[in-house]
Symmetry: C2
Subunit: 193 residues, 2 copies
Amino acid sequence: MMGIRFSLYPMRDDFAPLILDAVRDLDQLGVEVEVDDVSTCLLGEEPNLWEAVRVAFGRAAAPGDHVVLAATWSAGCPGEPEGDVCVPRAYDGPVGGDASWSTEAFVLPEAIAVQFALYPLGTGGYMDAIYAEIDRAKQRGVRVVGRHFCTHLYGDGQEVFDVLRAAFSAARETAAHVVMTATISANSPSHVG
Amino acid sequence: MMGIRFSLYPMRDDFAPLILDAVRDLDQLGVEVEVDDVSTCLLGEEPNLWEAVRVAFGRAAAPGDHVVLAATWSAGCPGEPEGDVCVPRAYDGPVGGDASWSTEAFVLPEAIAVQFALYPLGTGGYMDAIYAEIDRAKQRGVRVVGRHFCTHLYGDGQEVFDVLRAAFSAARETAAHVVMTATISANSPSHVG
């Protein structure tokens, strides 16, 4: 069982149609979609989930107004209602998956800011897993700033999404149940410090 | 070390002044405030943190437009830069703390929706701690809906905030390091299902 629950926040009077357009037909990308009044939940294979969330964020950011996507990724949660879900679903697609992604998945802002946190659960060594992913991020082409309770990334949209994907993937090798949260911001009027 | 990192999302063209007004002078409530381009981080004692976040959300929701506060509470994080921070700070204020809260801390919407999740870290028994808090929520006067990766609460603003506070407090007795996330929504045009 692997999935992502996310909310889109376009800071505009006409936010509702922008959100609906951003999540339109995500089920065509091979993920199950559940919508409620607070968020959208996608369940599926790892590459498809990343494709879908990139498409949704890219669409919402395209008009150029300030928008945030806040998300929780989860893999291996033993508390889900579908029985034995501790193992990520099998995936038979291309290695890395992005070779088959739609063009839309690559339309991301040139500059985004992300605050993310990893929570490998049920294991005493979780801090080492977190530090390893912070170090890995520093070796990519993004700026990394340590903050209380999270790590702040600044960089090109595609590079930052790649960092997030690599972090969540590697952390899953350290624990059966891993959660990652990320607050992904584009077009903010705030000074990028 | 205990704190909360939160972002406010007023879905309005004029979101910026609304956010700035909502977080104005929170340091007068006895918490340290750090602001960056994605979120606001408050550090302090447990009652003061809850007072401050209630004040910020109440202010942002008061105009009646759709607004979301997305937050991460953290206690006992061993990875913070301030040395030995595994123990919540001592607090000498009134028991429960809310006896001394400002009037603003009680100005909350009559109906809010919250998706929250608890992450007791470094312990194998974390799922039991989570289930206990879901059960506790069901015994309060709020509606509780189970969802993938989170629990969805609907109810009066004050009652729901009390549920969140009780959950985070009780979960801290099960692990030295506990994180709680919550997405708190008011005035949404979406159907409350």
